[in-house]
């Protein structure tokens, strides 16, 4: 999972001056660093990463140090032209606010239990905890055997009987269209197949061309279709004749065959 990748980001790269003066002093290429930086799923993810890699106590966050490191990351991202979501800047502002509130003298308190409510870090801690809890949830989902990724169920297609209407909804159609487009992307080029000459198509077309007036079979042949077209036309005529939809007439051997709709 990506999380492990994220945790393996070496801290030395991002601490101290070398990080600020890009690219001098960096021992990983900016491209790789960029990948690591864009890997963060937002400011909470970045903060949580900083706390874990520094082995800080989430219940007692050293805000000054964390804010400093956070600012360095943001600076690095800006240098690398990574489009910074507004949320990152909002978090930076929040950290600054917490810092300044910690610097203010505390009003006298007579109740030790109020300690937490006065601590401006509590809300941040709760947000971090909740987010990290859902990261655990995401890891659990990832650990499951998921159909389409780890599992391929077998379902032999059986034609739906006429009395049953299959379930369909628009989301299914949308998803299917996206699948087609996705697959088309991964293919180098489309194989454009020639239109096959279907007997059923030919039968319908022949029916549309004939009337009670006889027409010559030659008139029903389409030159561009070549021999396959001729064969299919002939089979279509035989089929229509068998169904008694047309009448065929030939005056003598090898003469033209005329066709008309059966009366």
């Amino acid at each position: 999972m990506q999380a492990t990748q994220q945790l393996s980001l070496p801290l030395a790269i991002v601490q101290g001056e070398p990080m600020v003066n890009l690219p001098k002093g960096l021992y990983i290429p900016p491209n790789a660093l960029k990948v690591l930086l864009t890997d963060f799923e937002g400011p909470l993810d970045l903060l949580s990463h900083l706390i874990r890699t520094n082995k800080f106590d989430i219940r007692d966050i050293p805000v000054f140090e964390i804010a400093r490191q956070y600012q360095q990351y943001i600076g690095l991202m800006q240098q690398l032209d990574i489009e910074l979501a507004g949320e990152y800047l909002f978090m930076a502002a929040w950290l600054t606010e917490i810092k300044s509130r910690l610097l203010l003298p505390k009003p006298p308190s007579f109740d030790d239990d109020d300690e937490n409510e006065d601590d401006p870090r509590v809300e941040l801690m709760q947000k971090l905890l909740e987010y990290e809890a859902y990261q655990q949830g995401a890891r659990w989902l990832d650990s499951l055997k998921i159909v389409g990724r780890d599992v391929w169920p077998i379902s032999i297609e059986v034609e739906t009987p006429p009395e049953v209407t299959a379930q369909i909804d628009l989301d299914d159609l949308n998803a299917a269209l996206q699948n087609v487009m996705q697959r088309a992307l991964t293919k180098v080029a489309h194989q454009v197949s020639e239109e096959p000459i279907e007997i059923s198509d030919k039968i319908e077309w022949v029916l549309s061309q004939i009337s009670l007036e006889p027409v010559s079979m030659l008139d029903l042949l389409v030159a561009q279709e070549g021999k396959p077209g001729l064969v299919v036309t002939f089979i279509a005529l035989l089929e229509l004749w068998r169904q008694q939809q047309i009448e065929l007439q030939q005056d003598e051997a090898y003469a033209d065959i005329s066709i008309r709709r059966a009366a």
Binding site: I156, E159, T160, P162, D169, L173
Partner: protein
């Protein structure tokens, strides 16, 4: 069974059971060659024969469709599947949904045009099922050699989807296509930035 056959048998079985269309021995052979360069077409045919035999009395059969094979429910047991479908109507297969989606978006459209977009052939059972459900109909014929049938969607499909008009369906699918294209372009320009570094 030779050692070779023991290797091929489960692979071929997994492939023909999971394929949504009939597979030819040649197709299977070409796929298997990627990993096993020294196999022969005859090995694949032997595996298919073995699978066919092993299915005797199992409720399933290996059916031959021209040069290709497909797993089907044996005729004697189709009624049982229908009974099941009456209890829980089946979902539509991926192949069927893709065919219907392209047809709805591009209508009027020929079968070969759909195949060109999907990259795989549209099987006759799929067309039959779409017609049987009353979702598609012939709209006419394309004025090209072969006069292929032009297909489109029916009012029943709109009704089953809960849509008011054919235009609403086409527009909805067009939105999906446009969004997809936009996302691809964004990704590509993103990639270009990566390369500049």
């Amino acid at each position: 069974m030779s050692e070779h056959q023991q290797t091929l048998y489960p692979i071929v079985q997994a492939l023909i059971f999971s394929s949504d269309q009939a597979l030819s021995a040649q197709t299977l052979f070409e796929l298997l060659q990627l990993e096993y360069p020294d196999i022969e077409l005859a090995d694949v045919q032997t595996a298919l024969t073995e699978i066919k035999q092993s299915l005797a009395g199992s409720g399933l059969v290996l059916a031959e469709v021209g040069e290709a094979v497909r797993i089907q429910v044996a005729d004697d047991y189709l009624d049982w599947v229908y009974k099941l479908y009456q209890q829980t109507p089946p979902k539509l297969s991926r192949a069927l949904l893709e065919t219907l989606a392209i047809m709805a978006h591009r209508q009027p459209v020929t079968r070969a045009e759909i195949e060109a977009i999907r990259g795989v052939s549209v099987s006759s059972p799929i067309m039959a099922q779409l017609k049987q459900q009353g979702w598609i109909k012939a709209l006419g014929q394309k004025e090209v050699p072969g006069h292929p049938t032009l297909w489109g969607t029916t009012p029943k499909l709109l009704e089953d989807l809960g849509l008011s008009s054919k235009q609403a369906l086409v527009d909805q699918l067009e939105t999906i296509v446009q969004r997809f294209i936009q996302e691809q372009e964004q990704e590509q320009s993103q990639n270009r930035i990566d390369l500049d570094l």
